[in-house]
Amino acid sequence: MRELLNVIGLGVDFSLGSQTLFGGRRKLVALDELSLTVGEGECVGVVGESGSGKSTLGACILGLVDPTRGAIRFDGRDVTRLRRDRNPDVAKAIQIVFQDPSGSLDPRLPVWQSVAESFEIHASLRRSERRDAAAALMRSVGLGEDMLDRFPHALSGGQRQRVAIARALATKPRLIVLDEPTSALDMTVQAQVLDLLLDIQERTRVSYLLITHDMAVAGHLCHRIAVMRSGRIEESGDARKIVTEPETPYARALVNATPRLGA
């Protein structure tokens, strides 16, 4: 399998508080020499609790945060501190689906405009063409034409997530970062969205980086899992193996703490 994303020794420090008289602010190490890879068509899960640094990892890959140390290579190219507004090809290749509930879609825009946003940013299509493209994208995630002009607040959580997925697919990305995509959804709705994500991956061979705290979801959808704590990877490997036979104490604690039926 070809390597698509390669994170090498990534480190992110945040400085806290005000500077003391003699220089030196307090430092928070959000990511500590972290390395992982994602192959083409692969789904890699990053599982951790709050404060593990998993969201910071996602932010670095998306170009929202500049890492302090280390490198990120995408398709062989160094994208570590690459500005996305100056490099549309990279911007289009790596997309994100956030955790809803609010804030993921601009509340003042009808959803088709959110879906077609990338076309607007890159000025590639006229308005009517953008609308048609949005309709097609929404159809591909199971949303009908009648939803085009609706506003986010009029949609259910599951529908909003589908819109977010449609928006991510607009640029035909190679990698989608999914940041807790189903955490705010009801169980039945989560199942539908997971099925949709599976479907899309089978159709398009897009790669996923799934950031989540839910071991069950990661164990279901991912090929490989990396368990994160305090900015480091505690254990990584085959997803099924980690969920059934975790080796490190922390990974075992995470797996055991996830409430399951029939145990």
Binding site: L64, D85, A91, I96, D106, P107, E117, E120, I121
Partner: protein, 272 residues
């Protein structure tokens, strides 16, 4: 942006619509010329002939109020338009830029706010010559910091929203984000401040007109009328009451407009 009518908006449009109509067609509607001096009817209380009474040189107050609508509205709108446009641009750009630029810009904004507006206006009037236009420009510029702070505060919170960060990962530049996401989402807040600002601008203009910096007599701008009535207020109550009522009704209309626009512009209120 979608717009939907609601009760406040309709009421506001009726009130302000009438006032704007009067402003435009005062010449047709008013019974007397605003400058027609009539020595025989000085300081008369309201009557059939003079519904709002007359002033110290016999001019019909009702007509003066009608003719005063246009300059009063114009000065209030100009001040707020200048202050809000300038303020939103400055505040929004500063908020998005962040870092050192943001710090410097906001300190400058606070500096302007700390300056005594009256003294500045006096100085500028002395330099440029007193007129309603200069007044509008001065007060407009002095109002920029207020809107800049509001716009910056909104921008700081909006730029962390997921849809803004998402646009950035898609390759959107700062200008696109500002135009497409930030400004439309901070407009409702700014509009409410604008509606309050219109009332304040009206009264601020009248205060400066008193010093002689704004409307020059015989211009019947409402603020100038209210201030001319100071000497006569205790005995000739109509002289202050009617122009004051004009300001009050217009202010009320502005407030309703702010309310109505904010509700009308909020997509959550669109009936599915």
């Amino acid at each position: 942006m979608t717009l939907r009518l609601n009760a406040s908006l309709v009421a506001a449009l009726l009130i302000l619509g009438s006032i704007v109509f009067v402003a435009l067609f005062a010449g047709v509607v008013a019974p007397y010329s605003p400058n027609a001096i009539d020595a025989a009817h000085i300081l008369e209380p309201p009557s059939w002939h003079h519904p709002a009474g007359t002033d110290e040189v016999g001019r019909d107050l009702f007509s003066r109020i009608l003719f005063g609508a246009r300059p009063s509205l114009l000065v209030a709108f100009s001040i707020v338009a200048l202050a809000s446009t300038g303020g939103v641009i400055v505040g929004c750009a500063s908020g998005l830029a962040g870092g050192l630029i943001d710090t410097i810009v906001m300190r400058l904004v606070e500096l302007v706010m700390a300056l005594p507006g009256l003294v500045i206006a006096l100085a500028l009037a002395a330099a440029l010559g007193p007129s309603l236009v200069n007044l509008a420009i001065v007060l407009g510029l002095l109002g920029i910091p207020f809107y800049a702070r509001v716009a910056r505060a909104e921008t700081l919170s909006l730029r962390e929203r997921a849809y803004v960060r998402g646009a950035r990962t898609m390759g959107a530049g700062t200008l696109f984000v500002m135009r497409r996401h930030i400004v439309p989402n901070l407009l409702p807040t700014v509009i409410i401040f604008m509606s309050l600002g219109l009332s304040g601008a009206l009264l601020g203009a009248s205060a400066l007109s008193f010093i002689g910096l704004g409307a020059q007599p015989p211009l019947a701008e409402w603020g100038a009328l209210v201030n001319a009535s100071r000497t006569y207020m205790l005995d000739q109550w109509w002289y202050a009451a009617f122009p004051g009522a004009a300001v009050a009704v217009t202010s009320f209309g502005f407030t309703l407009l702010g309310d109505g626009l904010r509700d009308a512009l909020d997509p959550k209120n669109v009936k599915a």
